[in-house]
């Protein structure tokens, strides 16, 4: 059966990684590239076979699980090294292997001058393998192998240029900040085991409504912890600071890891655990709120950055905020939809920026670009297509996915969430076109000694493919008519949630515990899908996007002198350009005190207090022995004296 091939999908890149890592230097760059891309291609083809196999599953079976071996256990706790194939996993597998393959091909061109070409591809393949483990694992801990594995590869790749201090710092920062999230994730897993007695996804999600009370404390704590884990990996407030710094890595890394796949792992995880999140309205509010807030905040920062990759990084943070906004209002399909389209257009944007950087010999500052349109036409046009997609212009993919999120945030959430989404959309359109105009249009500000050139075919072909995907990706879910929404129907088995059943179970559990169940009746009123509101919203947000683009046009094409005038002396601009001083705040309030405090602990507590006590004891004993030496004088007459004194005292005591 085709599904038996499941375990091969993460295995291929792993083997590729091992071969390249050990023998990469000997076999030469061509072979390294071939092995790396070949393993990804094999993975992709196997994914297709698995997809076919999945379609052939008998009616009613939505999930295929494959246990490779029993990983570890103790007492009644066991965890398998097992994979699962379900609609959600398949979507993610295609994104990872498909987009991954394209970016691998691109990287052959981009990294070609590097001495440690093999090292790059060894890490890159290892990343793909870990990412596939993450999306294919059938339990929380196997997911966690992938979860930390991708973080670890991200650490290697951010610090790829390890001689640069900023790159090393960025890598370490990414790892440590991610660990904060992982800490919460681990606690959540333990709590889940405590409640369910298992950590397999299918069992946990199936049993969730029967074991957890709707809106109860336990489910709220579990989902909050999971969400903190997601904020670490997916760079949301308050743990987003590592992602912009992560741009120190080579550009293909930024495209694959820090845009298309790894950073969306948090979204995947929340959707995977939707059965838990659905039970906690409070967590859902927090998820949506954090998502919306991050979307706006990152977008404002993105408006004032000059490093081309940093703008894109903040844009990624902002777009993932959108996905969490969607999750928070229960629109999981929309979140995954946006995840997919975002993977296409953001990968294309990053690779495009890489092509620009490559074409002007490593310059990343947009103030030193401009007028590149004529020099690199393929890059320019693919870039524009993707920018239109991210800005949400009809009929590109971003339009559909973004509008679906906005629609749900109004209908299932509230006007505040919608307002957040719309303002972020406007800001997105503005800063993305600011980027396009500053980079490709206007006067050339490129260093005259540099001659900009278009990138080789191996780099432009991936751009064209991704731009194509960014254009047609919206077909996955045309929101107007729900029968047409392919993705929605596809994900239905995973996301299916029976609220009435869950509430009934909760009432039952509360009743058994002798508590009174609150009234939940209003939750069950069905919401109608209003096609007119949706059309109206679409037109509105299209208008918003066009306004943003027009603004950028006014500022950066029509009146290039305007930006400087507007921002002059504005404290708001300073604040935004310095990223709200969040990094400084964390440094001052957390990092420095920890380091200083640790030094204090070491010097004062360890060396002085504890060792002092020990040495003090030794000294006291030494002092007593020196006093006692007096009695051991060695003279018989002294001993005789002591005997007499002792005898007399004894007599005195006795009588």
């Amino acid at each position: 059966m085709l599904l038996k091939l499941t375990c091969l999908v993460p295995l291929f890149p792993l083997i590729g990684s091992i071969i390249n890592g050990f023998f990469g230097l000997k076999i030469g760059k061509n072979a390294v590239g071939l092995i790396a891309c070949g393993s990804m291609a094999l993975s992709f083809l196997t994914s297709i076979l698995i997809y076919i196999g999945y379609l052939m599953l008998p009616e009613g079976q939505h999930i295929y699980e494959q246990v490779v071996w029993s990983w570890f256990g103790a007492g009644d706790f066991t965890v398998d090294f097992g994979f699962q194939i379900d609609p959600l996993t398949l979507v993610m597998m295609f994104v990872v292997t498909g987009v991954g393959l394209i970016i691998h091909v691109y990287a052959i061109g981009y990294m070609h001058e590097e001495y440690s070409f093999y090292r790059f591809f060894a890490y890159f393949n290892l990343f793909a393998s870990a990412m596939l483990l993450l999306v294919m694992g059938n339990n929380f801990l196997l997911m966690f192998i992938g979860w930390e594995g991708v973080g670890c590869c991200s650490y290697f790749l951010i610090g790829y240029y390890f001689e640069k201090k900023s790159a090393c710092d960025a890598g370490t920062k990414a790892f440590v900040v991610n660990r904060v999230g992982d800490f919460a994730f681990l606690l959540a897993v333990m709590y889940i085991f405590n409640v369910f007695g298992t950590i397999d996804f299918s069992d946990v999600m199936h049993a969730a409504p029967d074991k957890l009370i709707y809106g109860g404390e336990i489910v709220t704590i579990i989902t909050m912890l999971l969400f903190v884990g997601a904020t670490g990996k997916s760079a949301q407030i308050p743990l987003y600071t590592w992602l912009p710094d992560a741009m120190e890595g080579p550009t293909p890394v930024s495209a694959l890891i820090h845009a298309a796949t790894m950073v969306t792992a948090g979204v995947y995880m929340v959707v995977r655990c939707s059965a838990l999140f659905n039970l906690s309205p409070m967590t859902m509010m927090v998820v949506a709120g954090i998502g919306g807030l991050t979307a706006i905040m990152a977008a404002t920062i993105g408006m004032a950055q000059y490093d081309i990759k940093r703008v894109l990084a903040y844009s990624t943070v902002s777009q993932i905020g959108y996905m969490f906004l969607a999750c928070g209002v229960g629109a999981y399909t929309a979140a995954i939809f946006h995840l997919v389209t975002h993977a296409f257009f953001k990968a294309c944007l990053f690779l495009g920026s890489g092509s620009v950087i490559h074409g002007i010999h490593g310059e990343q500052d947009m103030r030193k670009m401009g007028g590149l349109k004529s020099h690199m036409p393929v890059t320019y046009w693919t870039f524009v297509v993707s920018t239109l997609a991210i800005a949400g212009i009809f009929p590109l993919s971003g339009f559909f996915s973004k509008d679906e999120i906005l629609y749900h945030s109004l209908m299932d959430g509230n006007i505040i969430f919608w307002g957040m989404g719309v303002s972020a959309a406007m800001l997105t359109a503005f800063y993305m076109f600011r980027l396009v105009f500053m980079t490709f249009h206007g006067e050339s500000r490129v260093d005259p000694s540099v001659h900009p050139h278009e990138s080789p075919k191996v780099m432009t072909m991936p751009l064209v493919i991704l731009a194509g995907l960014a254009t047609i990706g919206g077909l996955l879910g045309i929101p107007l008519f729900h029968g047409w929404h392919i993705l929605h129907n596809w994900l239905e088995p995973v996301l299916h949630f029976d609220l009435a059943h869950a509430l009934h179970q909760s009432e039952h559990m509360l009743h058994e515990a002798g508590r009174h169940a609150p009234s939940w009746a209003h939750l069950l009123t069905p919401k109608e899908h209003n096609i007119w509101i949706e059309v109206l919203l679409m037109i509105f947000s299209l208008g918003v996007a066009i306004t943003g683009i027009f603004g950028a046009y006014m500022f950066y094409i029509k009146r290039p002198d305007l930006p400087d005038k507007v921002i002059e002396g504005q404290w708001g601009y300073d604040l935004v350009q310095n990223k709200y001083y969040i990094d400084e705040l964390y440094d001052e309030s957390i990092v420095q005190p920890t380091v200083e405090g640790s030094k204090l602990l070491w010097k004062e507590c360890d060396a002085k207090a504890i060792d002092g006590a020990v040495n003090g004891t030794a000294n006291v004993i030494g002092w007593f022995s020196r006093q006692a030496q007096v009695f051991q004088s060695g003279f018989v007459r002294n001993y005789a004296l002591f005997i007499v004194v002792g005898f007399i005292s004894l007599l005195l005591v006795m009588f």
């Binding site: 029993s70 990983w71 570890f72 256990g73 103790a74 007492g75 706790f77 801990l141 192998i145 979860w147 930390e148 594995g149 670890c152 650490y155 610090g159 390890f162 001689e163 201090k165 090393c168 710092d169 890598g171 370490t172 660990r179 904060v180 800490f183 681990l186 606690l187 333990m190 709590y191 085991f193 405590n194 409640v195 369910f196 007695g197 049993a207 074991k211 957890l212 009370i213 809106g215 109860g216 404390e217 336990i218 709220t220 309205p281 559990m509 609150p518 009234s519 939940w520 920890t594 380091v595 405090g597 640790s598 030094k599 070491w602 507590c605 360890d606 504890i610 060792d611 020990v614 030794a618």
Partner: protein, 529 residues
């Protein structure tokens, strides 16, 4: 007999070395290696013949030693000691290879090393309290000599500190052993110090058992070392030669945790239960404190030493979770720590051999000239911070899972050690391996040679083996742990009404009502949703 033979084989080797000519260094090294390898292979034979299904002592031997006092030569292995035993022979072998370049008094060095091995093996097989005590004290001597003779500049201070700390602790243990010996004689009429007999027949009041527990605790807590008895460890590690550090971290510290599992828990189950909060808090402090202090160390070995304090905190926490998750996690973490920390010390030793300094600030940019070394170091460092897929994670997760069943807050505090571990290891790694190669003294440092690869490679294989398929190792102690847990299960001592059943689900009862209430308060959940 077989077990006795394996245990004393290194000592036999040491005796052989005594009669060899001092000048013939290579013959001495080869003989020592031959004995170490033979011992390791024979101990593997023990493992393959070990019966996983029973908690009973195996390969046992019980002959009278000092008949008048009922002291026997009683030995045996069960699931708790088997892996520690094999790890001891394994690390001895690695250490002999790692010490190949020792120049000073090589014969005496190897004698001390082999004698030390027998001493340590004896501790793990002894089933008679007096015999245990003899081995416990005996292994101190060669270790003291190794640190004191082949150590660094402050070796005298460090070795005396090491000796005094451990000796003080074990004296109280001796008092407790004597007390038990006389008590058993009084209550059962049998003059014996047999550990298995005492485990089954010791019957003391709770108050008395608390005192005895404290006496044992002090001896083992110093050995482990637990906060605040840890200050001997960084000094001893820094001054010890590489192999000394490896043995110290890999085996000697494990004697402490082994002692808890062999004596404190089975002898005094109720006292152990009463002391859980104290041990847990000391362990948590140790985890966080060790990690924080490790972060600001300037000396590589001190950093690894303090990280040991942190890791051993996890092991102690697992043991005192008193459930199968925690104890199995602690046992596998014993092995993990032995592997990862030994590897770290070996790796630090490699740069120390080349540069004769361990100051972090002296290095930087080694990745460029020592790629093999960098990869090995990276793998070991990641295993040490518990990256899933490598050995550290399996143990750490089980320990945390175990303690979570007891108290969520403790688990949360302990888990924060995971973040701090990433901080100190990665920061150190960055400063040593990455950045520019600036220091001219480092320019011509050689990458690892074959001998050094041979010492590290098996450890790296084990790192992945345990990380991906720990069952090979964990199934050896399954039965023993279940037996132990059935004795120390807290439910045996809890008042009955606390065993309530919550309506959330079958596992929800593990969250105590008070915790639940406090969580409720903290979250301030609205009454209506």
């Amino acid at each position: 007999m077989f077990l006795t033979f394996i245990t004393f084989l290194p000592f036999l080797g040491a005796l052989c070395l005594v009669f060899m000519r001092k000048e013939n260094a290579s013959a001495i090294k080869q003989t020592a290696l031959a004995f170490a390898v033979a011992d390791f292979l024979l101990s593997l034979l023990l493992w393959t013949n070990f019966d996983n299904t029973t908690e009973k002592m195996q390969f046992g031997l019980n002959v009278s030693w000092i008949e008048a006092w009922g002291i026997n030569y009683h030995i045996g292995l069960d699931g708790i000691s088997l892996l520690l035993y094999v790890m001891t022979t394994f690390l001895t072998m690695i250490c002999v290879i790692a010490s190949w370049d020792v120049k000073k008094h090589i014969r005496e060095y190897m004698i001390a090393m082999l004698a030390l091995s027998t001493g340590m093996l004896g501790v793990f097989i002894a089933l008679d309290l007096f015999m245990f005590y003899v081995f416990w004290e005996f292994q101190l001597v060669p270790m003291y000599i190794i640190v004191g003779v082949w150590g660094g500049p402050r070796r005298i201070y460090a070795s005396i500190k090491f000796f005094l700390f451990t000796a003080v602790g074990s004296l109280l243990m001796l008092v407790a052993i004597l007390w038990i010996y006389f008590h058993i004689q009084q209550t059962t009429g049998v003059a014996t110090a047999d550990i298995l007999y005492i485990t089954d027949h010791l019957d003391v009041s709770l108050d008395a058992s608390k005192w005895l527990w404290m006496a044992f605790f002090l001896a083992f807590a110093i050995k482990v070392p637990m906060f605040p008895f840890h200050t001997w460890l960084p000094d001893a590690h820094v001054e010890a030669p590489t192999a000394g550090s490896v043995i110290l971290a890999g085996v000697l510290l494990k004697m402490g945790t082994y002692g808890f599992l062999r004596f404190n828990l089975p002898f005094f189950p109720q006292a152990s239960f009463e002391f859980v909060p104290m041990v847990a808090w000391l362990s948590i402090i140790g985890i966080i404190y060790g990690a924080l202090v490790a972060m600001v160390q300037e000396d590589l070995k001190k950093l690894v030493a303090y990280s040991s304090v942190s890791h051993l905190g996890f092991i102690m926490l697992g043991i005192f979770a008193l459930n199968p998750y925690g104890i199995q996690g602690a046992l596998i973490q014993n092995i993990n720590h032995g592997i990862s920390t030994s590897a770290l010390f070996l790796l630090v030793g490699i740069v120390y051999d080349r540069r004769h300094t361990r100051l972090i600030s002296e290095f930087g940019g080694l990745a460029k000239i020592m790629p093999k070394y960098t990869v090995c170091f990276m793998i070991v460092a990641l295993s040490s911070i518990g990256l899933p897929g490598m050995n550290g994670f399996v143990g750490e997760f089980l320990v945390l899972l175990g303690i979570f069943q007891v108290n969520g807050l403790w688990a949360a505090c302990a888990t924060s050690g995971v973040i701090l571990a990433a901080c100190y290891i990665l920061w150190m790694f960055q400063r040593v391996m990455f950045l520019e190669l600036k220091n001219p003294k480092n320019m011509d440092m050689k990458d690892m040679n074959t001998r050094e690869m041979i010492t590290i490679a098996p450890l790296i294989i084990l790192i992945f083996w345990i990380g991906l398929y720990p069952n090979t190792f964990m199934k050896t102690f399954d039965a023993s742990v279940n037996h132990l847990v059935s004795k120390v299960n807290p439910d045996n001592f809890r008042p009955h009404q606390e065993k309530h059943k919550d309506s959330h689900g079958e596992h929800a009862q593990l969250i105590t009502p008070t915790e639940m209430a406090s969580l409720n308060q903290k979250l301030q959940m609205p009454k209506k949703f």
